[in-house]
C-alpha cells in the first residue's frame, strides 16, 4: 500500500486550494459556512484566503488548507493499457492476420453535439499529436458520419457497413449530456443486435472518466490526450481477445 498526500511545500503537508461560490450574502455566516464546507471536505486546518460578494446573494470563496485524506495509489483503478501499443504497420498486419479483411469503423458525434475536432483528430488522416488518424491505416475502413448524428441513424449505418467498431465522441457535458447520450447509444446497440454480436462501442471526449465504461454499457472510453495509435491498438487487442487470440492481446 502506498499512501500519499498532496504536496504544497513539504512532504506530507496535504495542502490544497479550493474555490467555490455559496448562495449566501457575503457576511460572517457565509465565511463560516465556507470553512464548514472545507472541513467537511476534509480540510483541517482550513484558511479562508478570500471571500467577496458576487452580487447581493452569493459569496465567492478561496480556501487553502491541509486535507486529511490519504490517497492509496494501489487502490487507484486506472484504465491502463493492458495490451501493446502498436505502430500502424503492426496494426495493419494484425488486422490482416485476424480478420483477413479490412476492419470497419463507423464514427460520429451523436446527439446534438457538433464538436467534431476530437473525433476527427482520431479518424482523419491528419490525426493529432504527430500521429496519423485511422484513415491512414490501410487495413481500416473509416466511415465518419460527422456531427449531430441521431443514435438510430448511427445504428442503421453501422449495420449497413457491418461495422466492427463504432466510435462516438461527446464533448458537451453540461447536465451530464455525455453520459445520457452514451447510455442511449449502448441501449440502442444492445437492442438492435443479437446478444454479444454488436460492434465494439468506443466512446471519447475530454471530460469522460475512463473508468466508467462498464457503467455506461460501452467497451472502452478514451479521454483527454488520446491519440489515434491508442485507439487502433485497442481495436486490434479487442478483436484478438474476442477471437481468443493471444498473440495480439499479450
Amino acid at each position: 500500500m502506498t499512501l500519499i498526500r498532496p504536496y504544497g511545500d513539504t512532504t506530507g503537508d496535504g495542502m490544497v486550494q479550493l474555490s467555490f461560490t455559496l448562495p449566501l450574502p457575503h457576511d460572517r455566516v457565509a465565511e463560516g459556512a465556507a470553512l464548514q464546507l472545507a472541513r467537511r471536505m476534509g480540510m483541517e486546518p482550513a484558511m479562508l484566503a478570500h471571500a467577496r460578494p458576487v452580487g447581493p446573494a452569493h459569496t465567492f470563496c478561496v480556501v487553502y488548507g491541509s486535507v486529511t485524506h490519504l490517497v492509496d495509489t494501489e487502490s487507484v483503478t486506472v484504465v491502463a493499457r493492458d495490451h501493446p501499443l502498436l505502430a500502424p504497420a503492426e496494426v495493419n498486419a494484425e488486422i490482416k492476420r485476424l480478420l483477413r479483411r479490412r476492419l470497419v469503423v463507423v464514427g460520429a458525434c451523436i446527439g446534438t453535439d457538433a464538436h467534431t475536432v476530437g473525433i476527427d483528430a482520431i479518424l482523419n488522416i491528419k490525426g493529432c499529436a504527430g500521429e496519423k488518424g485511422l484513415e491512414y491505416y490501410r487495413e481500416i475502413k473509416v466511415v465518419n458520419l460527422g456531427a449531430q448524428v441521431a443514435v438510430d441513424q448511427l445504428v442503421d449505418r453501422a449495420r449497413a457497413e457491418e461495422a466492427d467498431a463504432v466510435l462516438v465522441s461527446q464533448v458537451v457535458t453540461q447536465r451530464d449530456a455525455h453520459l445520457i447520450n452514451t447510455r442511449a447509444l449502448a441501449a440502442a446497440f444492445e437492442a438492435a443486435y443479437p446478444p454479444g454480436r454488436r460492434p465494439a462501442l468506443v466512446v471519447g471526449g475530454p471530460r469522460f472518466d475512463e473508468a466508467m465504461a462498464a457503467e455506461l454499457g460501452v467497451d472502452r472510453i478514451f479521454a483527454r490526450g488520446t491519440t489515434p495509435g491508442d485507439v487502433a491498438s485497442y481495436l486490434v487487442h479487442r478483436i484478438a481477445t474476442a477471437r481468443g487470440d493471444i498473440r495480439a492481446s499479450a
Binding site: 458576487v54 452580487g55 475536432v117 449531430q148 458537451v172 453540461q174 449530456a177 483527454r224
Partner: protein, 528 residues
C-alpha cells in the same frame, strides 16, 4: 494605428462583391419554409398547439403540401383569409392543422386584393418592429448608454431561463454592457421555434419568444437600476434563423449573431437554405436596428489562427458585402474575429495585435466583435485567466468595440456565476490599468505588426481571387473546405428540402417592404 495599402483594400472589397453577388442572386430567386414562417410571424402569427408545434409550422406545412413552397405562402394564406376560411391567422392555422382548410393560389384577378391584405398584415408587424426600435432609441437616450467602448459582452448559459435571468442581472450589475443567452446545443437543428418559457437546455437555453421577452424585461429593469441600457443578444442561426430574427425584432433584442456561413460550416445546414434564410434575416435586422455579430472567429477553432488568418479577413469582407446589400449600416456590422493563436508560438501576442489591427483598420466604422481564446484554453484555469487578460489587453490596444469576455473555465464547463465575476474583474483591471496605453503603442511602420497585417490582407485578396476564379464560386469554395477546414458541398447538409426556387407568382410582402432604399455604400460602386 497602421496604414493599409488602400488599393489592396479597394481590390479586396471589389472581389468580395463579385464573389457575393451570385449568392445574393440565389437568395433572391429562392424561398424557404423558414422564410415563409418568418413572414407569418411578422404578420402576427404566434403560439403553438398543445404538442408544442407552432402554428406557423402547421400553416406553412399545409400550404406547402397543397400548393407547394415556390409561390410563397402569402398568396395562398391571405387568399384563404379573403375567402373567409378563418377570421384570422391563428384560426386559419388551427383549422389547417386538422386538415379543414383548402389552400390554392388566388385567381389572377383576386391576386391584387390578396397581396394587399397580406401586405397590410405584414406592414403592421413591421410597424411593431419599428416601434421597438424607437423604444430602444428612447431608452438608450433616456436611461443612458454603455459608458465606454469596448462594450463588455457576457454569456449566460444555464439552460434554464429562470436561472439565466438572475445571472444576467448579476452580470449587468457587475459591469456587462451586453448579455448573450447561449442556446441549447440542439436548437439550430430544430425546424421549429419552441414555445414559452423553457427550463431544459443543454449548454444553453432555448431561444423562444417568451424567453426573449422575459430576459428583455428583466434587463430593462436592471438598465433602469444601473442608469445604462443593457443590451441583449441571441442567435439568428440554424434552421429557424429568419423566424428568430423576427422574434428578436419584436422583442427588442439589440444584437444578434448572424453570419452568412456559420450554419453551413458548423451545423451542417444546407448552403442554399442558409443563404436564402440569411438574406431575409439580415433585412429584418437592418430594419430592427439590431447589430449583427458575424462568426468568422469560429474558423480559428478548427483551423490554424496564423495559417488561416486570411480566411477570417475574407469572410469579414463577404459578411460586409452581404450585410450592406441587405441594408445594414456600418454601425450594425459587428464583424467577428478572435484571439486564437497558439500561445506557445513566439511573438503570438504581436501576431494577435497585427490581426486585430488589420480588422480595425479595414473596417473603421464597424463595431468589431473581439472573441477570446477558446481553442488553446486548457483545464489550467490559472493560465486561462492570464491568457484572457492578454486578450483584453489586445482588445484595448487595438480599439475593439465589443469585447466578448473570456472565461477561465473555457475548456471545462459552461461559465459559472463566479467565472463571470472573475472574468469581469479581469476586464476591469485591464481597462482601468492600461486604458490609455494606446498612446504609447505605436507599431513601427513597416515593422513586424504592420507587415504581418499587410500580408494577411494580401492573402485574403489572393483567396478571393481564387474563389472568384472558381466556376462554382463561393459555394464551391465552401465545398472545398476553405473556411474552418469544414467541407460542405452545395447539395449537402440539413434543411435543403425546405428550399424552393421562386415561381413567377412568388410573393413575399415582407421582403418587398424591407428591401433597402440602397444607399450608396461605403466605397463599392457595384452596390447599386
Amino acid at each position: 494605428m497602421i496604414t493599409l495599402d488602400q488599393e489592396l483594400a479597394r481590390r479586396a472589397r471589389e472581389l468580395a462583391a463579385h464573389v457575393g453577388r451570385p449568392v445574393v442572386q440565389l437568395a433572391r430567386s429562392h424561398t424557404t419554409t423558414s422564410v415563409e414562417r418568418a413572414l407569418l410571424r411578422l404578420a402576427g402569427l404566434s403560439g403553438a398547439d398543445a404538442d408544442g408545434v407552432p402554428w406557423a409550422n402547421h400553416l406553412v406545412g399545409q400550404v406547402v403540401d397543397q400548393v407547394g413552397l415556390e409561390h410563397g405562402v402569402a398568396l395562398p394564406v391571405w387568399d384563404a383569409l379573403c375567402r373567409h376560411e378563418a377570421g384570422d391567422l391563428h384560426e386559419l392555422a388551427a383549422k389547417s392543422a386538422i386538415g379543414s382548410v383548402r389552400f390554392r393560389l388566388p385567381d389572377a384577378d383576386a391576386v391584387a386584393p390578396v397581396r394587399r391584405a397580406a401586405r397590410e398584415a405584414v406592414t403592421r408587424g413591421i410597424a411593431r418592429i419599428d416601434a421597438r426600435r424607437r423604444e430602444r432609441e428612447r431608452m438608450v437616450a433616456g436611461i443612458g448608454d454603455a459608458p465606454r467602448k469596448p462594450w463588455i459582452y457576457l454569456i449566460v448559459a444555464t439552460g434554464d431561463i429562470h436561472e439565466d435571468i438572475p445571472q444576467a442581472q448579476a452580470a449587468a450589475r457587475a459591469g456587462a454592457d451586453v448579455i448573450a443567452v447561449i442556446r441549447s446545443t440542439g436548437q439550430s437543428l430544430l425546424d421549429y421555434v419552441p414555445e414559452g418559457a423553457t427550463r431544459e437546455g443543454f449548454a444553453g437555453t432555448y431561444a423562444t419568444q417568451e424567453n426573449f421577452r422575459l430576459m428583455r424585461a428583466a434587463l430593462d429593469e436592471t438598465s433602469r437600476e444601473l442608469g445604462r441600457y443593457v443590451r441583449l443578444t441571441n442567435y439568428a442561426s440554424g434552421l429557424c434563423m429568419p423566424e428568430i430574427a423576427v422574434l428578436a425584432g419584436l422583442e427588442r433584442l439589440d444584437m444578434m449573431l448572424n453570419d452568412s456561413m456559420y450554419g453551413i460550416l458548423f451545423r451542417d445546414i444546407n448552403p442554399l437554405r442558409t443563404f436564402v434564410d440569411q438574406r431575409f434575416s439580415r433585412q429584418v435586422h437592418a430594419r430592427a436596428g439590431i447589430i449583427i455579430n458575424t462568426g468568422e472567429d469560429n474558423y480559428l477553432t478548427t483551423s490554424d489562427a496564423v495559417a488561416e488568418a486570411h480566411t477570417v479577413t475574407t469572410s469579414q469582407l463577404l459578411n460586409e458585402y452581404f450585410a450592406k446589400e441587405a441594408g445594414l449600416a456600418d454601425w450594425q456590422l459587428g464583424l467577428g474575429h478572435a484571439f486564437e493563436i497558439d500561445p506557445a508560438i513566439p511573438d503570438s501576442f504581436r501576431l494577435e495585435l497585427a490581426h486585430a489591427l488589420l480588422a480595425r483598420t479595414l473596417f473603421p466604422d464597424a463595431p468589431l466583435k473581439w472573441m477570446p481564446p477558446t481553442r488553446h484554453m486548457t483545464g489550467d484555469v490559472f493560465h486561462g485567466y492570464l491568457l484572457d487578460g492578454f486578450f483584453n489587453l489586445a482588445g484595448v490596444l487595438t480599439g475593439q468595440s465589443i469585447l466578448l469576455v473570456g472565461m477561465m473555465t473555457e475548456a471545462v464547463v459552461t461559465p459559472w456565476l463566479s467565472d463571470r465575476d472573475l472574468a469581469l474583474r479581469n476586464v476591469r483591471y485591464v481597462l482601468d490599468a492600461t486604458g490609455s496605453l494606446g498612446e504609447d503603442f505605436r507599431p513601427v511602420p513597416g515593422g513586424f505588426i504592420a507587415s504581418r497585417a499587410h500580408r494577411v490582407l494580401e492573402e485574403a485578396v489572393h483567396l478571393l481571387e481564387r474563389i472568384d476564379g472558381n466556376a462554382a464560386g463561393l459555394l464551391g469554395a465552401i465545398g472545398d473546405g476553405t473556411f474552418g477546414q469544414m467541407r460542405r458541398p452545395p447539395s449537402g447538409g440539413r434543411g435543403g428540402d425546405g428550399v424552393a426556387p421562386r415561381s413567377e407568382l412568388h410573393y413575399n410582402p415582407a421582403e418587398e417592404l424591407l428591401e433597402p432604399s440602397r444607399p450608396a455604400a461605403h466605397g463599392h460602386e457595384e452596390e447599386r
